[in-house]
């Protein structure tokens, strides 16, 4: 039997090449690994090795030949004791070449996100801070599932840098409430491995600013592996901690990461405002089989809200909440900006403008339906976020409204966002850099042409 040696592709982009030199001649015996020729690719000069044993029967291209297409036969190898005369007698089968057909069919539409179950109605409530609600959510889920554990800096003996994990070490012990070294990149990667290994880690970042050191594992390891493994390897991790500006901590500790993570398929991104949001969404995040980014806010930790007093209270991921009903303008906000939007709505009401305030709760998946239904009623929309406007969440909302409710708009969507500067330290400048109630009021009036 004869074996054809084909012009190889020796780089991801090579389609043709030059045979600069033969290092064997006809009649030479070669074994696997023997260098046969030098080939110049679009990147470099490479050596071509023999794969099979045999005798070089015929060299089909001469030294110095240029523009030899990939997969063109360049030599014939004889196996065993064949003679060169057998070349013609034996029919040489050309190995199957690569297909590069374009797949127009791949443009098949993305499946629509399943509609979440509606939120349950609750009748009995208790007053809790966001901090207590988060702690209760973690504790309840740790009681429910022994594979849930909490790790992070100062979460155990110190009781949490922001006291979210107060009391958890006492109840669950050091095996499940784990102080880590200050090593975000390492423990984020470790949590991904633990999730692959069947556990359900909750990773606390002291703040999301520090998670930038870990972002490779959040995106490349946690978010993409399910897809890259053809569905074999899910990664049920919750990455949580305070996000955005606190107060007077300067540029490196005051950034909103909502739009960074919202960009990534394979992640879910949640941003609670109230204590009920915090509890219901964190419980849902811990139970979710996917990696969830859970963006808290330090200033909200001490604020109190009514939380359903029901052991089974949980909120659906992907469902926004209409916090205030109004007919004149829709204000879409998340996290701490929901409170500011509600205060702005009170001021607007005194001036005869009834604002509908939507608390997004979930940034990815984004509840487009709730936003569109509201805009179809109000015909106006203002987005509010603490992060920068450029490529921010407001851009995404504006684009979706344009795509799905263009004809309903009576004014362009207005964005209220953090100023396009690193966060300043000085008290007066910091106030200027962050969205304020007056900014929301002004934007709402402008889209109402008032």
């Amino acid at each position: 039997m004869t074996i054809q040696i084909l012009m190889p592709a020796l780089s991801p982009t090579m389609t043709e090449g030059k045979l600069t030199k033969w290092l064997v001649k006809e009649g030479d015996k070669v074994s696997s690994g023997k260098i046969l020729a030098e080939i110049e690719t679009d990147k470099a000069t490479m050596e071509l090795e023999a794969i099979d044993e045999g005798i070089v029967g015929k060299l089909l291209v001469s030294e110095g030949s240029e523009v030899i297409p990939v997969n063109q036969p360049i030599a014939i190898l004889l196996e065993g004791d064949e003679k060169a005369s057998s070349i013609k007698a034996t029919s040489v089968t050309t190995p199957m070449a690569a297909k590069t057909e374009s797949i127009a069919a791949a443009a098949a539409a993305a499946p629509q996100a399943a509609t979440s179950a509606p939120e349950k109605e609750y009748t009995s409530f208790k007053t809790q801070t966001v901090r207590e609600a988060l702690r209760d959510a973690i504790a309840e889920e740790m009681r429910r599932d022994p594979n849930v554990f909490l790790m992070g800096e100062e979460v155990a003996e110190y009781q949490g840098a922001y006291k979210i994990s107060q009391g958890l070490l006492d109840e669950f012990g050091a095996k499940r409430v784990i102080d880590t070294p200050i090593t975000e990149h390492g423990f984020a990667g470790l949590s991904v491995g633990a999730a692959f290994g069947g556990l359900r880690p909750i990773v606390e970042f002291m703040t999301f600013n520090f998670a930038m050191q870990a972002i490779d594992h959040i995106i490349n390891s946690a978010a993409k592996t399910l897809y890259m493994s053809g569905g074999q390897l899910g990664c049920p991790v919750v990455f949580r901690g305070p996000n955005g500006a606190a107060a007077r901590v300067g540029a490196q500790h005051s950034q909103c990461y909502a739009s960074w993570y919202a960009h990534i398929p394979g992640l879910k991104v949640l941003a609670p405002w109230s204590a009920a949001d915090a509890k219901g969404l964190l419980k849902a995040a811990i139970r979710d089989p996917n990696p969830v980014i859970f963006l808290e806010n330090e200033i909200l930790y001490g604020q109190s809200f009514e939380v359903p007093a029901d052991d089974d209270f949980i909120l659906p991921i992907g469902k926004a909440k209409v916090e205030r009903v109004g007919a004149h303008v829709t204000i879409v906000a998340f996290s701490i900006m929901v409170g500011k939007a509600l205060q702005a709505a009170e001021i607007l009401a005194k001036e005869g403008i009834e604002a509908e305030v939507i608390n997004l709760r979930s940034i990815r998946p984004l509840d487009t339906e709730t936003i569109i239904l509201s805009v179809q009623k109000t015909n106006r929309c203002v987005t509010v976020e603490e992060g920068w406007a450029t490529s921010g969440i407001g851009c995404e909302i504006a684009a979706r409204i344009m795509e799905q409710a263009f004809d309903d708009l009576d004014a362009p969507v207005a964005r209220v966002a953090g100023k396009d500067v690193p966060m300043p330290y000085a008290a007066n400048l910091e106030v200027m850099a962050l969205p304020q109630i007056a900014d929301i009021v002004a934007a709402a009036k402008s889209v109402c042409y008032r």
């Binding site: 592709a9 020796l10 090593t183 290994g197 490349n220 592996t225 399910l226």
Partner: protein, 335 residues
């Protein structure tokens, strides 16, 4: 904790001929599989990046022979050999290389991204060093669940300069995690030699400050690797903590398919191939021991050739993924 240098020498005494023949077969499978992968790449059937393991076969064959069912394995993008050594089907691996539906990741992962939960193989990672904290997390899960398993985390001499490696060593040492870190020192991180990249080229010593037991091993001798692996697995399974093993090996091919390897002398490669090839060395040992005759070797050659041919055929006949697969496996649907 005192660290101990376990220097191992090539010794056949304690390893029976049956085991050695199995090693020979397993190494030959990887060698032939990789040669065929290189050929399919040349034909344009495999795209993108493709990193071959030729020359390093003794490392993963010797070490995985020490593993038990339930253990976890994780490595970098030079991963085909590890998958075969974990018992994954050569057909599924080759079909993933060609991006076909029959591949381990349905064609959506490629050469660098393959996994088998069934075989305890957790990738296949394309980011240099990222597999090391993940492998540490797999060890964390073994300890948390108290299932007796351990984690093998393989990485190269190039990755050994990544900060996350030392973050991992620190946590593994601190928490005495059941993990064996394996530095496959093939002398070059892409085109940069260890001497040009590492202030201290004795990479195994880098485990000492973290309380890891450290070892250096001749990675061109499968028996040396196997004996070191038995020692290391026994140590880790007894709960003593992690091991860092530096295995000195050599990659015959370029870093990836488009690397002409101009950064090393041809004589260096030739010397390693002719004098230290792990497959040739074991074959010579088997001949000397009279453990196998020429017919025996021929039978193994044929068996391997048939397996690799079947894998190559499957990788070309398996269909491309259905267009609908574009949109699957992005999120797990909640139960």
């Amino acid at each position: 904790m005192a660290t101990k240098r376990g220097n191992t020498k090539a010794a056949t005494s304690s390893v029976g001929s049956k085991v050695l023949i199995q090693f020979y077969r397993d190494m030959l499978l990887i060698r032939r599989f990789e040669e065929r992968a290189g050929q399919l790449y040349g034909m344009g059937l495999i795209g993108g990046f493709c990193h071959l393991y030729i020359g390093q076969e003794a490392v993963v064959v010797g070490l995985q022979a020490c593993s038990k069912p339930g253990d976890s394995v994780i490595t970098s993008y030079r991963d085909h050999g590890h998958m075969l050594a974990c018992g994954m089907d050569p057909k599924g691996v080759m079909a993933e290389l060609t991006g076909r539906a029959g591949g381990y990741s349905k064609g959506k992962g490629g050469s660098m991204h393959m996994f088998s939960r069934e075989k305890g193989f957790y990738g296949g990672h394309g980011i240099v060093g990222a597999q090391v904290p993940i492998g540490t997390g797999l060890a964390f899960a073994h300890k948390y669940k108290n299932d007796g398993g351990l984690s093998f985390a393989y990485f190269g001499d190039g990755a050994a300069n990544q900060g996350q490696i030392y973050e991992s060593f620190n946590m593994a040492g601190l928490w005495k995690l059941p993990v064996i870190y394996v530095i496959e020192n093939n002398k070059y991180g892409m085109g940069t030699s260890v001497q040009r990249a590492s202030a201290s080229p004795d990479l195994h010593k880098r485990g000492e400050p973290f309380g890891l037991r450290t070892m250096t091993v001749d990675g061109m001798s499968v028996t040396a690797v196997y004996e070191a692996g038995r020692d290391a697995t026994e140590y880790v399974r007894s709960g003593e903590g992690p091991v860092l093993m530096e295995v000195n090996t050599y990659r015959y091919r370029g870093h990836s398919m488009s690397d002409p390897a101009k950064y090393r002398a041809k004589e260096e490669l030739q010397k390693m191939r002719e004098q230290f090839d792990p497959i040739d060395r074991l074959r010579a040992e088997l001949v000397e021991m009279k453990a196998m005759d020429e017919d025996g070797f021929k039978a193994i050659d044929k068996e391997i050739k048939d397996i690799v041919t079947a894998a190559a055929e499957f990788s070309q006949t398996s269909p491309e993924p259905d267009p609908a697969e574009l949109w699957t496996d992005i999120l797990v649907e909640a139960a």
